[in-house]
Symmetry: C2
Subunit: 237 residues, 2 copies
């Protein structure tokens, strides 16, 4: 048999295969805390429980897995997050009552201001503080996927400024430092933090100032290449 014949007669349903889905851990930073977007499940299984935004690949619509996750995130938030990265793929026989199931997980970051109105307008999506997550009973193994996403973001805080994508486009260095401090669970030296960012030339002064209490802070914007940069020396844990 030649390949042409094989492909013509190929039946994708001839063999049993795992259920395949995509999930996203979308983090943001609000009021000094990390939050994650949860969605209430409207279908079986685990209907009524809260879980990660995600779903199935639409073979007609999606070109890539990233298309799928972005489509799902846009449905829930109204926008495409500025940072989306594959986290890991979890697949085993026990995670879903329907049987062998595989989910390709992504970590995404966004400023909550970007999607506040859209999320407020629906009742099946909400930001949940990471500290309140313990008490909740999430669908499937989503709690451990969130833990993995958080752990990855913590590592990124040690050697990059990727956590900046949890902030609005214009942000202050104090805010960014605080995001890192929350992720790492320890205070950082202001001087060290600013020095390394300045040296790496990752941000641009917008010329604007933020006006809160005290001295106004310079508002910076990320350079496009900021998400790629890794420091050769980590912050200490």
């Amino acid at each position: 048999m030649n390949e042409e014949t094989y492909l013509r007669d190929y039946d994708p349903k001839a063999f049993d295969s795992p259920l395949l889905s995509v999930d996203a851990v979308l983090f943001t930073y609000r009021d000094g805390q990390l939050e994650v977007l949860l969605v209430e499940r409207s279908n079986h299984p685990e209907m009524g429980k809260w879980g990660l935004p995600g779903g199935f690949v639409d073979l007609d619509v999606d070109e890539t897995l990233e298309d799928t996750v972005i489509r799902k995130l846009k449905e829930k938030t109204g926008v495409v997050p500025p940072y989306v990265e594959q986290l890991s793929t979890v697949g085993n026989r026990s995670r879903d009552k329907r049987g062998w199931s595989v989910t390709v997980c992504y970590t995404a970051l966004i400023a909550h201001q970007e999607c506040e109105t859209h999320i407020d307008s629906v009742s099946d999506a909400k930001w949940v503080n990471l500290k309140d997550l313990e008490k909740l009973d999430l669908a499937f193994d989503h709690k451990s996927i969130i833990a993995a996403g958080r752990e990855r973001l913590k590592q990124k805080a040690l050697y990059s400024i990727v956590p900046a994508y949890t902030l609005p486009e214009k942000f202050t260095l104090s805010d960014l430092q605080h995001v890192h401090e929350v992720l790492l669970g320890k205070p950082l030296q202001k001087k060290s933090f600013r020095r390394r960012i300045e040296q790496a030339d990752l941000i641009v002064d917008t010329g604007e100032k933020s006006a809160e209490k005290g001295r106004p802070a310079t508002l910076y914007r990320l350079k496009p290449e900021a998400s790629q940069h890794t420091f050769i020396r980590n912050l200490e844990l």
Copy 2:
């Protein structure tokens, strides 16, 4: 409808879903070069081409995705590699002529001595030098998956001693340094390299010596925790 009824009537083939497979990039170090294990495809599509070892989840046999990849690697090498780590998942509409396809990719490392006899006994598996890979026309997008695996291993060489798993259980520091040098594509300072490994306390002196030309070198063994350790300061690129 309650969940029980839903699950009883659930038909896993009701919806079209991507083809799901697992692939492994198994690296080793031989004669001063990096090599990757390739397998000749005995089935359509891309029959006759060489590609990565891998295959489909066996829903009855495999408990997890890692079980699948380890089963496939054991089929080809006869042993379970000492280091297996998920690399990334590639999924899109165009990578496989059969249609929308997803492959969960793993990087694995092994000493070629561990599986030499098994590989030599079969004709459909062989080690290929990374430098010879350019010329080959591999199946699917396997060439770019190998490139991604190699890139990941290069990063690991900067901040860990994970590349040590490409070596036999007992190895010399000179060999390990050379693996890192090949991965990084540049010579390293002997002193720096040994200092950081000694300080991190990642290896144990076996008491044995390797006898080649020149002064015999101490043979070390990895401590079990060595695969977890990350240096806070990277080697320079």
